[in-house]
Symmetry: C2
Subunit: 346 residues, 2 copies
Amino acid sequence: MGINIYDVAQNAKVSSATVSRVINGSPHVREETKAKVMQSIKALGYTPSALARNLSTGDTHNIGFLVPDIENPFFSMILSGISKAADEYGYNIFIFNTADDAGKECRFLEAARAERLRGLLVIPVDSRNETTYKQLRSFVQDGVPVVLVDRDLRDGRFDGVYSEDFFGSMQAVSCFLEEGHRRIAIINGPENSRPGNERWRGYKEALSKWEIPLQMQYVKQGDFHQERAYDAMAELMCMEHPPTAVFSSNNLTSLGCIRYALEHGLSIGEDISLIGFDDIELLQAVGIQLSVVDRDTSQMGWKAMKLLIRRMHKAGEDDTAASEIYMPTKLILRGSEKWRRSHGTV
Amino acid sequence: MGINIYDVAQNAKVSSATVSRVINGSPHVREETKAKVMQSIKALGYTPSALARNLSTGDTHNIGFLVPDIENPFFSMILSGISKAADEYGYNIFIFNTADDAGKECRFLEAARAERLRGLLVIPVDSRNETTYKQLRSFVQDGVPVVLVDRDLRDGRFDGVYSEDFFGSMQAVSCFLEEGHRRIAIINGPENSRPGNERWRGYKEALSKWEIPLQMQYVKQGDFHQERAYDAMAELMCMEHPPTAVFSSNNLTSLGCIRYALEHGLSIGEDISLIGFDDIELLQAVGIQLSVVDRDTSQMGWKAMKLLIRRMHKAGEDDTAASEIYMPTKLILRGSEKWRRSHGTV
DNA sequence: ACCCCTCATGGAAGCGATTTCATATTGTAA
DNA sequence: TTACAATATGAAATCGCTTCCATGAGGGGT
């Protein structure tokens, strides 16, 4: 660029202080002077440097968003919600794709610190990572608020926006039970993530309420990805007494299940029942009626950003306890939870 | 934070200049001094302010990415490629979701200017927008390189990474023709976008090569979204002589077509043929074999970022002509291009 | 022993804003 | 007309770095 506030000042025959006042809408500027300055700004095509301003005021309008996998539509939705709120309040977003790599996550947090970001929205890679935890704590201590999204971190000392994973999962499994299912499998999410754990807890809780014993052979460890779910399905379906229903703990997992079923001629909602966590819009376009536990994902991002903004605005006020928001889930039944009982009862 | 280079200097009993040299790896520092400084840095937990550095050097490591719809998986893939390359070279990404709104686009470009971004990756909202065009030109003139991705802007004066839309489209339609189709419909993309136009040109070219007259009743204007495509399909299929094949010009459009077909009992690859532009991974999980014109989307983002980096590094060198990269497309045939001829021939 | 060159380091001037404090100007009441 | 308050403006310090220039300390060649 090359053109700065002094050039404008000179052109308008005023001091830089006055130009600054005009830019920032200070009331103590004569209309006439203001007009003169504005005109110089236009004439020279001047845009104030946010860098210089930030350095001077010690205060940026930039926040960071750390996300484990930007390709996952679920996270894209969150980002979409975030960016809506950010735009509304004039914040800019640094995006950091941690690619499920804790090392990268650390590096990005360093970058965030260097950039003196005003706040951080984080979907941590690993709920138990000590380094991440320490780094985030130190951000908070330095007055840079942190809001976790969807996944938590060790203890409850961070603000966060999560969903009712436990309840949603319990509801789904209860639905299976009401349908008459007794051999209900679950394909779990990673153990080091809140959603994985809570959904697993919900599963156990539902069984326990119905006094159905937990049978570990119906519990498969997944990783929120398609491949592993497919393999898990294969194992389940080859059992002597295969499950009659499967609860899949995220969107990609559901896809793996569906693929297996289709490839092996199992009709979903007849031969095998399926409920997934998180809706998959596409499925409806292709005529697959999958029952799911859904939540408003974009809204999660929006709320997280709102919460962050609230924290940023009242920074310095003494730490009110971490506030956690839980998004409600909704069980959407489309038929895949049904089954032809005859098949199941051996 | 509060702790700066002077604190470190004082702690290590050297000058700020020396600390700066250590940080930036200048060779003119004694090992012993260097060690002392490093230790102070550790001890105080010092992170240099990128803001101050940027202001001082007039040079940030931040680039901007303007994208029309972050929820669209196609754009997520591009972002993914970008962020991979950015990470590799230590660049940070500001993301701006323009939400298909030219007004927002302008505002974001202002913000980008204020932040003194080093370079810009842009998927313009509207290929013909005058304001966007002028703003981007002025960035380039000010030494801030701009690389367009997927969509272009009026003339060829910008760097850009596109794909072989024309060729890909022509190939798809030619494939239909070889299959024996003669009534081939197209659901077009928006007229103000390069992909829309080029794919439309490819369609016409293929027909013309085969000396098939262009029949406008088989040409439907779409908008790259599902709903409109669905409606277009409805119109096409209700015609007296409906098309036997449909070429759909992007991923969402294909979904609209598929949904229509499924809902109306049309078997794809038998009753109606379909080829889409851009692959949809999910479809295979659910057993729908859609033939598509595909390209490496993530790679597009990667290449765009690489090109941008090249430009940024040799900024100031006299303007070599704009360089345009065209990603090859690949026709992937999975069967949906077939048909039961008997149905088609009236 | 002298001179010159190289290398390590410090002093201080920017970079481009904001902001405090001081000053000049204007208005108004006595 | 004087005096004091309110208002408009400028000078200069500051934010935290980088970097140019100056200076001092060694080292080698003659």
